[in-house]
Amino acid sequence: MEEIKCKIEQLLLKTQKPARYIGGEHGSVVKDKSKVDVRFAFCFPDIYDVGMSHLGMKILYGLKNSVPNWWCERVFMPDKDFEAHMRENSIPLYALESLDPLTEFDFIGFTLQYELSYTNVLAMLELAGLPVYAKDRKSLTPIIVGGGPCVCNPEPMADFFDLFIIGEGEEVNLELLRLYEKMKPLAPSKEEFLREAAKIEGIYVPSFYDVEYNGDGTVRSVLPNTAQAPAKVRKRIVKDFDSVYYPDSFVVPFTGIVHDRAVIEVLRGCIRGCRFCQAGFIYRPFREKNIDTITEETRCLCEQTGYEEVSLSSLSTSDYTKINELLERLSDYTDEEKINLSLPSLRIDNFSKELIDRIAAVRKSGLTFAPEAGTQRLRDVINKNITEDEIMRTCRLAFDEGYQTVKLYFMLGLPEETMEDVEGIAKLAQDIVDLYYETPKEKRGKSIQVSVSAATFVPKPFTPFEFEPQAAPEEIAKKQKYLLDCINSKKIKCSYHQQNVSILEAVLARGDRRLCRAVYTAWKKGCTLDSWDEHFRFDLWLEAFSECGVDIGFYANRRRSYDEVMPWSHLDYLISKEFLIRENKKAHNAQTTRNCKEGCSGCGVGRNCGGVYCG
């Protein structure tokens, strides 16, 4: 530790935002190494500013550190300047609490939140001085584990990890580390440990499965090659969500990060079933915490961190069953303490005047909506059950209160999309501008700005659109251009995502194990920090794909038949394939499906998973 500390101290003076690399923040946990039996390095494969905003890390960090003889520390991907300093000075990747190199840890855990962080995983392993391929790491430790939403299809990363944790981490992390603590004195081989670990529900050991392919390149089968590995790995769910562990403190960074505030998770899962949305399916069922629990966690976290802002986290906060009562209770506390209560993830349809008032209580920010599609027909296709009337009603309420900015999120390239739907995006934005001008002058704000953001649709596993092709790049380009042509008001600003990013996401999201080599090759060519526009090198990715014989069209733009074996078919997220097929067919007929609150649609999640509306 001292050696690394002396080295980095000099380099920090030449580094951008050096506080990101030295730890020591309030709330970071430092333990006496001699009293610790299990050491876990929690890695977020992106830079500090992003990783420190991630709630999952805060939960699992607190959880593991609540066990006295375990020590969990944080590790982030260094930015390019500091990475260069580390390489020049032979500083291995280290954890922020102890400043010890990663090779000293029992576990190295990565959370895979988005596909564009994959090359960072390899870069971090290499910076730590470890072989990136699991097969080349012969000793028991460090054991490289992965979790997070992307592990619902971890196949493009399967060769680099020893095991994946499927589903929610709160319980299974404890079980895994307990198993390790028990076996460690027996000095097992890595394989012996993995065999025992594979018996834990939710643990997927990729090397215990063989993948076979058909002549046309599709997957023929994914089968276990050892008795200990189940044919299907079932995701873990916290059934009693109200009493699940929640940290009483966060690590409070010195330097500004993306979401620099206290965060309280109020509910998990989503009742909506928007057909493009992976989170809406893989986090099912819908569970929520009691108002007392939420209030207590808020108070505790604010007191411990000193944050001036608390945000309620969920996929859709307005679906909380007693939302008004909750906000009343919370604002009693936050008003008194001059804490700003922020509510992201609100839906348009049940946006009440009361809610608007609450949001505006401390500082008035803009309104953000995600209609996703420009016409009612296409919104029915994707099951985004919002009507234009609801959007207008909410905007009217907001304009009456003096709101001046509206952000609208859309997707281009959705299944069944026509040019009429693209035009509909422009029309909806224009209608909102017109509505502003209809608002009486004495009520409305000084000006209006409507921002339209049009992302490219990426089909994801475990959604009804997992069978769908991504629209061809030319088609998307045509639609982007058409959208710009349709907008003729200076009050509307339009932006869209870099298409190459969406193409890469589409390939990796539904890729199979053969992509591991392409990820490796792209990284070897210099791809890291791919999620940053200034570092994204699609040309290098294309080279890597071509060298590894990967056909982008096969992964991104191909329609899958209903009976195709998906690369992730050995993973069970409780959502039944029959349901996904049913939903896909309904989508093509522009038929909507009711939400869980209105009635069960038989997605496959059982009654015994703690869901509020299940059974």
Binding site: L12, L13, V252, F254, E442
Partner: protein
């Protein structure tokens, strides 16, 4: 006409109690930038449950004032933070409660009544420890040579004039120079405060350029903040 807006958290507490906090910023905390320190301290007060006085208006913010910024990477045990509270508290209690809420490397030394005005700050003393491509003794000699020049010009950036050359030689007061345990130790007094500020990095950069010195490692500590007459600022 826009309707009358009333900020919701406008409180009407007028009475304020002012305190001067003298604290250390060392070790890992030396990498907290000045801007980040503001936010960090505000959170320390919140955690400590010490109620800061908020400015009145549409965008209320806590009253925290650092009269002299400490350059990133410099240690100091003589830093000053002026605050206004809405409650009258014992100095010892403020110190203890803040220290219980401080992150590693930040520590309150004492709390006092603010007597001197910020504008009275005129200079600060620094101890610089470094190793370089020369031996410690040789580097010390080079530093004497450096200060013996007729002029020491550095580039100063300003908004109005752009980049221009400034002679900093008359502003550098050497207290002592020594070689100890393989390190060169330089004790300097430099102008600080509102009218003219010179930081150690500018001096060391000029030294390195002029004498072809390459620094291997360097530690800087601010040891005193002083008034025009050389009195300690408190």
């Amino acid at each position: 006409m826009a309707k009358q807006l009333i900020p919701k958290n406008q409180n009407l507490i007028i009475e304020r109690f002012e305190y001067r906090i003298i604290y250390c910023k060392t070790g890992r905390a030396r990498y907290i930038s000045h801007l980040d320190l503001m936010r960090t301290m505000q959170r320390v007060f919140k955690r400590a449950g010490i109620p800061l006085w908020y400015t009145q208006g549409f965008n209320p913010h806590a009253y925290l004032m650092f009269p002299l910024a400490l350059p990133l990477g410099t240690d100091s045990c003589t830093e000053i933070l002026d605050v206004a509270l809405v409650e009258k508290l014992e100095y010892g209690e403020i110190k203890d409660r803040l220290n219980a809420a401080m992150p590693e490397g930040l520590k309150v030394r004492s709390v006092a009544e603010p007597i001197m005005k910020h504008t009275e700050i005129a200079s600060a003393e620094y101890v610089i420890r470094f190793t370089c491509n020369y031996g410690a003794d040789r580097a010390k000699e080079l530093f004497y040579d450096f200060l013996g020049q007729d002029r020491i010009e550095i580039e100063k950036r300003s908004k109005k004039k752009g980049i221009n050359l400034v002679d900093i030689k008359p502003h550098i007061r050497l207290v002592s120079a020594a070689a100890e345990n393989g390190e060169t130790l330089i004790d300097l007094i430099l102008p600080a405060g509102n009218s003219f500020n010179l930081n150690t990095a500018a001096v060391i950069d000029a030294f390195c350029r002029s004498k072809s010195v390459e620094i291997n490692s360097i530690y800087t500590e601010r040891t005193k903040i002083m008034t025009e007459s050389g009195e300690l600022f408190i």
